[in-house]
Symmetry: C2
Subunit: 410 residues, 2 copies
DNA sequence: GTGAATTATGTAATCGCTTGCAGGCGGAGG
DNA sequence: CCTCCGCCTGCAAGCGATTACATAATTCAC
């Protein structure tokens, strides 16, 4: 049996998304097919008697359809849609009209494939919930959009298997450039990215190579400022609260913290604590810290997001900040001035970082100048309400902490 | 002059990313070309004497290269990489080895094009900075990843031209399904999405159609609970603080607020105020509200994110919450229990919403059952610390607000 | 009015991958 | 020894765009 007519009325419709096509027994096209074009089997849902049920994946709307409707060739349509103004005005309007009527949207996969390059940048972040990462993403995207670039973001949740998958995805998408603002990067992945020949920017990890640029914040300087400031206030029992991220900026902050304390106030007692990144993580870590034998006068948090959780826990236990314990953050996210008390922290210019990343990734004079380098960004101490002289300098020196489980707050 | 040899050594390298190819003057292939394959002009950077400078966009790593190295055809390589286990074990390992050695990553654009369908979902959000949107995105992504789907997100920043661009992008990418969690949707865009035949989920906007499903939270119920609760505490001067989003959920909350107040406490005074979404927006709106003649005993915020900004402003002006003014939020984002005082709010189950969106978008029994429907989700009142009986019921009744510009807080 | 110069459009190869069909190879059965 | 039947593998036609080159349609100079 063969398909004698291609008129659409010949194909019984059941719904708009399912159509039934007649089976074609043709020596040329094999057992299953359609007169006009071969039909791939993966489009077939089931065979029903002498028909096959086909789920229309996408409307068959391509350049050809627009071209046919406008009475021109696909080349002309393509030229119109790409604004190559070599097309005559009348043809142009005819094509645009046809495209509009058909509700045509070019297939960007086909376009990327044909063009061999894309105007899409990728960014990998560890935890989009943390406003620090969002801000960098947002700044990158703003810069990108103003130049006709797109940005796709992948959130790794600090999970390294997720990171591997995301890196694969980005390479598979052949992004024009990739920013890795993650701390769980390992050498194997770095090698994979280096091999991909895609322009890469690492935030705080790895070493610069041919196609790899490093943007890093001078954490040593930032952490030094915090420690010096606390030291100048007279703090001598300090806890550093980090999170479970073995590589990258975190450990650097921790390391610098220890070094600096040892250097400028060698007799101070220190303690390292950690939790997971986030409000809850900060809270739990603080709870654990307070229930330990160590009795800090200051808690130095690895970032603002966790610090806000710490503040909450201290309040729950009736510990006054900064009177009884000083708390510092890092990053200067928006939230740090909206929490109570407002956080003393270190400002990291996310705007500038996002902007820089864009300049490095996108071909241009800036990228020629900066690519393969290491770019160091200076942080700045921001003193707000969460720090003061330690309690020993004030009154009694004894902390008034309540039991761990306070009034239940959902 | 023609290219006599194709051996790579014949092409003088300058760097790994730039190569020089000899010009080919061949009647068959025209003025510029290369013996083995035509060279598209958009790959050419400049002409240098009898050579053209070509920037290698991407390493020429395709199935063919892997196939050649493994001594098989591209079909076999493809089958191996797609885990179609019709391939003999020994061939399989040979192919995998070749792919590994070449650092091969399939081009996903080509794959999508050839397959005619993708396993990528899209999600549009108004403001990724607001944790409410992040949570929905995150829940959708978790569900998606567990089934081998990817999610791409577009942040519209409440800008309608950005939304149009994002919608175009998603359609161009032929996403397998699209979630629109935005409030700035207009009827023209809805039509565009309906025409695209892509499965769509709207959060709180529009009406269900063939391929369009609506997931909406019963705001009437949530807002009623808030108003009833405040009424039961005795509040009679209430301000609703919304944001500049004309369509969708926001106006519904506002409308319901007004209706409910009118119904259950007809003599209460109300006021509508608004700002932009976000911490800063909430703060500024609160400042403006407090400097007006209206003297509310309760501020009902359209969402938690703004409410946190409101809390901050009240604290700056020395207004105690809840003793002098009660504040409520909406959404129950994580932050609402970490701010001070913890917010009384309405819980919207973002987890569940993200999960539902996934079930609707991805073909399966759930989607068959739910697609084209309207799905209503129940919110729940969460009472925390930011609300109490109004001050008139307590002591004097006069508010102790400070001047607008308090101690400078950076 | 005619050929040259210019401009507009068409033809078809190509991007990298998937997959229907064909063909080769090897062992079982006759 | 030959046929039949699976199991693997290869061939080549798409997918939907871009674009080099060819050709058709104009314009223009003389």
């Amino acid at each position: 049996m063969t398909c004698r007519s291609c008129s659409r009325t010949k194909y019984p419709h059941t719904s708009d998304r399912i159509l039934f096509l007649p089976l074609v027994q043709d020596s040329a096209s094999g057992p299953i097919g359609h007169l006009s074009k071969r039909l791939h089997l993966n489009r077939i849902e089931a065979a029903v008697g002498e028909f096959v049920m086909v789920r229309e994946q996408f409307p068959l709307l391509n350049l050809e359809a627009v071209a046919k409707r406008a009475g021109v060739s696909t080349a002309t349509v393509s030229r119109v849609l790409n604004n190559l103004n070599v097309v005559k005005g009348s043809t142009r309007t005819r094509v645009l009209k046809a495209a509009e009527e058909l509700r045509y949207h070019p297939n960007l996969h086909a376009r990327s494939l044909a063009r061999g390059k894309s105007r899409t940048l990728g960014i990998l972040v560890s935890n989009m919930e943390n406003p620090f990462f969002f801000d960098i993403y947002h700044a990158l995207e703003s810069a990108a959009h103003s130049c006709g670039y797109e940005v796709v973001v992948a959130n790794t949740d600090y999970r390294s298997e997720q990171l591997v998958a995301s890196v694969r995805l980005m390479i598979g998408w052949r992004v024009a450039g990739l920013a890795a603002v993650v701390s769980e990067m390992d050498s194997h992945l770095i090698q994979m990215l280096a091999d991909s020949r895609i322009p890469i920017v690492f935030y705080d990890v790895g070493t610069p190579q041919k196609n790899i640029t490093n943007v890093r914040v001078d954490y040593r300087k930032g952490m030094k400022k915090i420690v010096e400031y606390l030291h100048s206030l007279g703090h001598t029992r300090m806890a550093f609260l980090g999170h479970h991220s073995t590589l990258g900026p975190i450990s650097e902050r921790e390391k610098t913290f220890l070094e600096t304390v040892k250097r400028i106030s060698p007799h101070a007692e220190v303690r390292i604590a950690s939790g997971s990144d986030g409000l809850e993580g900060g809270r739990l870590a603080a709870r654990e810290l307070l229930s330990s034998s160590f009795d800090p006068t200051a808690i130095i948090c690895v970032n603002d997001f966790m610090a806000v959780g710490v503040l909450r826990q201290l309040r729950d236990q009736g510990v006054r900040v900064p009177e009884e314990i000083s708390v510092t953050g890092f990053d200067n996210i928006k939230l740090s001035e909206f929490c109570s008390p407002a956080l003393t922290t270190v400002h990291i210019p996310r705007e500038k970082i996002g902007q820089k990343i864009f300049e490095i990734l996108v071909p241009g004079e800036s990228s020629d100048r900066l690519a393969g380098q290491e770019i160091l960004i200076d942080p700045e101490l921001v003193v707000r309400e969460s720090t003061s002289v330690p309690r020993s300098e004030q009154a009694g020196g004894s902390i008034s902490k309540r039991a761990v489980s306070p009034a239940v707050v959902r």
